[in-house]
Symmetry: C2
Subunit: 223 residues, 2 copies
């Protein structure tokens, strides 16, 4: 029952690779080049190794991406325990958004994987705890956490997609402005100034406030 990380005799040459350093390098490569350019070969090159060597530490590329998502979730914390449940939940959702924004294509990596590591589960545990402690039922707390996470991921997916314009085709708000100029979309025309806003934080805060207000209404059914 000895801890292998301290007691293993380290027979043979010390490895040039390990999971943690590889994940860290992969996240750096992600930031530099984006998800589409993150290939096993390029990652191997960054580690000074052949591509095949990576498969001693990750069964598939998907496993690597899952480890990257788990690493992004490690250390995602909301405000301290004293705060109001509304602020704690909003804080956790905001911290999730920031964690995804911290790496290029972070939301895409997160949405494309299903980590069950301590970072991811700890975050879900914290969110659920805030709502259960606030008096919500187990089922309502579970569903509310799902709603908040799904909204946050959906929002950040869009935010990061808008963050890096297409290169060849014109930016999204431009196309929208043009299409709307035909006069066929009067409501979108009115909404355009807000839709074309480059700062996504107010959009996120608005949606999150909607969810929180909805939860509040759940507890005071008769206004």
């Amino acid at each position: 029952m000895s801890d292998p990380s301290t007691s293993r005799p380290a027979r043979g040459r010390p490895p040039r690779l390990d999971q943690a350093r590889t994940v860290e390098t992969a996240l750096a490569l992600l930031n530099d080049a984006g998800l589409d350019a993150l290939t096993m070969r390029r990652l191997a090159e960054a580690m000074g190794v052949q591509a095949g060597a990576l498969y001693r530490y990750f069964r598939t590329k998907e496993d690597l991406l899952t480890a990257m998502a788990e690493r992004m979730m490690a250390g995602v914390r909301g405000p301290a325990g004293g705060a109001d449940w509304r602020d704690r939940l909003s804080g956790l959702a905001g911290a999730l958004r920031q964690a995804l924004l911290a790496h290029r294509d972070g939301a895409r990596v997160f949405a494309g994987t299903h980590s069950t590591g301590p970072g991811t589960l700890g975050f879900a545990e914290a969110c659920t705890g805030v709502l259960r402690d606030a008096g919500f039922s187990d089922a309502d707390a579970a569903r509310a956490v799902m709603a908040v996470v799904h909204f946050t991921v959906g929002h950040t997916l869009e935010e990061q997609a808008a963050l890096r314009p297409d290169g060849d085709s014109p930016a999204d708000p431009e196309v929208l402005r043009e299409a709307v100029a035909s006069g066929a979309y009067p409501h979108l025309t009115a909404a355009l100034p807000t839709l074309a806003e480059p700062d996504y934080t107010p959009h996120f805060d608005f949606g999150l406030a909607l969810l929180v207000a909805g939860l509040e209404a759940l507890r005071r059914p008769h206004p």
Copy 2:
């Protein structure tokens, strides 16, 4: 100013390919094999043509995926105009979810593209119209539509990911059950029966109701 679809002399051999049929075939292939197996070569084979020929109709694979997303959005309608704004908005969000669920990996295709076609814009116009007609400000209507769409996409992404289990690794709820059994996640343990629920419709309805209730609260600030 003649309509080219009727007046073009059709010189040369009639084309064996066209955009609409190709998109239709691609959506069928998507349903059969999933997004990862939808390659230009396989699509070409299904159309009885070489892969290079597709590039006469779609500049890139991304253009094809965008056309597929636009096709999925065509004909997405909510309930008729008489209904209450709450029901109309919920109906539109539900119709969006159903449109994404109608094709395997539909949410992934939608989230990965940015159609500015009439189907997509028409849907956004309808959503915005419901809220503006209900008296919400242009900015609130715009942000509320974004929140509803982002929640719906995030939710359906998860729903479709859960829909087809991994093959090799055990299903997600199973892993969750195991991790939670360690006792380190008391709140998740309580939430587990709901989180592991295979029917996602109640989860969707709950999140959507939260957003709608939040919008209601926006109009009656003092309960």
